[in-house]
Symmetry: C2
Amino acid sequence: MVPGPAISLRAYQRITRYLNFLNQAEGGDKHISATRIAHALKINDVVVRKDLAAVSGNGKTKVGYARTELTRDIERFLGYDRPADSALAGVGRLGQALLSYENFKKYGLNITAAFDTAPELVGREINGVKILDASKITDLCRRLHIKIGIIAVPASAAQAAANALVEGGARAIWNFAPRELSLPEGVSVKHEDMAASLAVLTKQLERF
Amino acid sequence: MVPGPAISLRAYQRITRYLNFLNQAEGGDKHISATRIAHALKINDVVVRKDLAAVSGNGKTKVGYARTELTRDIERFLGYDRPADSALAGVGRLGQALLSYENFKKYGLNITAAFDTAPELVGREINGVKILDASKITDLCRRLHIKIGIIAVPASAAQAAANALVEGGARAIWNFAPRELSLPEGVSVKHEDMAASLAVLTKQLERF
DNA sequence: ATTATATCGATATAAAAATATCTAATAAGG
DNA sequence: CCTTATTAGATATTTTTATATCGATATAAT
């Protein structure tokens, strides 16, 4: 596939904000303008317009975008309409939370397999997903053609989990462990960086 | 306080990566250079040098930074040495995961109060924190001088939770709900945007 | 002692992102 | 029908961020 226009992470974050905003004020007007979204979300209106143009292009002068159409276009852009199967490594508290997070389905993510090493967890079922022994990661990912691996194991086990997932065919890793991963070329990683988020927050707090 | 040099979110993310990297290769050399970090993490070396200069400034020509010193400086920079008390609104799966996440202590975050509306949760204790009825948020935050509020309630309840926290004196909100929050001037928000992260990841997947 | 090399830190350039400005279109009000 | 206001979308400018280049310095090798 073509590399595409390489939309920045910040643009994705803005676009999901637009979607959240559209969802929350449900019963409103039939149309909404970029200007209004910009004002509500305190973002520059040109930025919003540029984002929406990349996503939809169905804007009409003087009226803006039809809400339902825009919502659909954003969802399509974000991939909510093409569900992807994924495997979860680590079913501790965080893993269980991820397994139970109903929104993921809406976001186009199915967790179809879950793995852990703890004997008391293996065999149990959470939210319709059976927990299997971690030794089976590679084999099962391969059989299920899993392309997305989610890492929710302790930091010390993260690299091993990543290796198993990638060996099983995963091409994208969503890493919740506070650990750098070294992965082969062609495998993309998104590090969910709670520590950094927290640091930003507490830093802002210091200003007062 | 002074506004400060306004370090970007991306810089914070890089800096936490440096810290993770330092922690994971524990028994290594006594010193480490920006060049080597840059190479290991596939980041431009000038960027690393600039980040480290903002954080530490103890770099020595030809040898780099002393690992232990650099680790300490980064931790100090990220605020790990000044623990802040926080209150958690919502003790569902995600809230429980946050309550049990041991790393937060290391990151300088104490969750000292937790709230929920569900009668079967109120009164229980998780990880040493007693769950209280959501009606007490404002009052208790005020008494405990809570400055950080964490929102882990369903989207529909997010705004109300935020209001209660802010009314109780919270000046920073860490929002895990997929909902835009409208908050008074001076209250900072960090939206933990799982949907956006996921979208980035699946987008990269499409390239193959 | 001298030379080569690795490193930091400063400065300069380039790239990317955000913001401002401008134009055309079109709906709404008189 | 005409004017006004609002909007998308294009283009230009500014700001921010990343990258490249250079000089100084200290360590290690010869």
